[in-house]
């Protein structure tokens, strides 16, 4: 069911990218897709009844089925940070697009060469 949620979110993100004419919305849609993919990845590592993969005084022993899969979590840590990097570059590009073309709306931008 978490899978379903994240897939629907991906769909909404794609829809937003294709319909919106404001470039800021594109960035936001991209960020929604990122979050959705992260949720999906974590969901693939969830084990029913498993605990967070940290050894503590009350959880000192290893056993299969006791912990959730730690590898997807490590991957998502990386993916989140990558998302931030992309977003920061995108935001700074938007600032400059606004300065150069005097708008960030695809329909109102002046002097755009594709």
């Amino acid at each position: 069911m978490v899978y379903a949620i994240s897939i629907i979110l991906i769909g909404i993100g794609i829809y937003g990218l294709m319909t919106q004419k404001n470039l800021f919305k594109h960035l936001i849609s991209l960020s929604i897709i990122d979050t959705a993919v992260n949720i999906f990845i974590i969901a693939t590592g969830y084990v029913e009844g498993g605990k967070a993969p940290i050894y503590t005084k009350s959880l000192p022993n290893f056993a299969i089925g006791k912990f959730v899969d730690p590898l997807p979590q490590a991957l998502v840590l990386t993916a989140i940070v990558i998302g931030v990097g992309t977003l920061a570059v995108g935001a700074s590009l938007l600032v400059r697009i606004r300065e150069k073309h005097s708008s960030i709306d695809v329909e109102n931008m002046k002097g755009v060469e594709e």
């Binding site: 909404i12 936001i28 979050t35 590592g45 979590q73 989140i80 977003l87 606004r98 708008s103």
Partner: protein, 80 residues
């Protein structure tokens, strides 16, 4: 638990639709930030505290701040 997850998912989907369709960019940024925050709950529910902390500080915190500052620099952006 599963009812809570459905609730969180519902909120996220509504927030996502709102973020995509909102008339004002500011609202869209806030909705996106809300989506990030709710996803933190999902991460905790799926026993991923490391990811939850990172998403809370990075995804919901800094990214929103950076986008808001950008928006301020663009004088509120263009309304749709």
């Amino acid at each position: 638990m599963s009812a809570l997850i459905w609730l969180a998912g519902g909120i996220m989907i509504v927030a996502a639709v709102f973020a995509v369709e909102a008339k004002k960019i500011l609202d869209a940024v806030i909705a996106m930030s809300a989506l990030s925050l709710v996803s933190v709950f999902l991460f905790i529910a799926m026993r991923a505290p490391d990811v939850a902390i990172t998403e809370a500080s990075v995804g919901a915190g800094l990214v929103t701040a950076v986008l808001l500052v950008t928006l301020f620099r663009m004088k509120g952006g263009d309304d749709k």
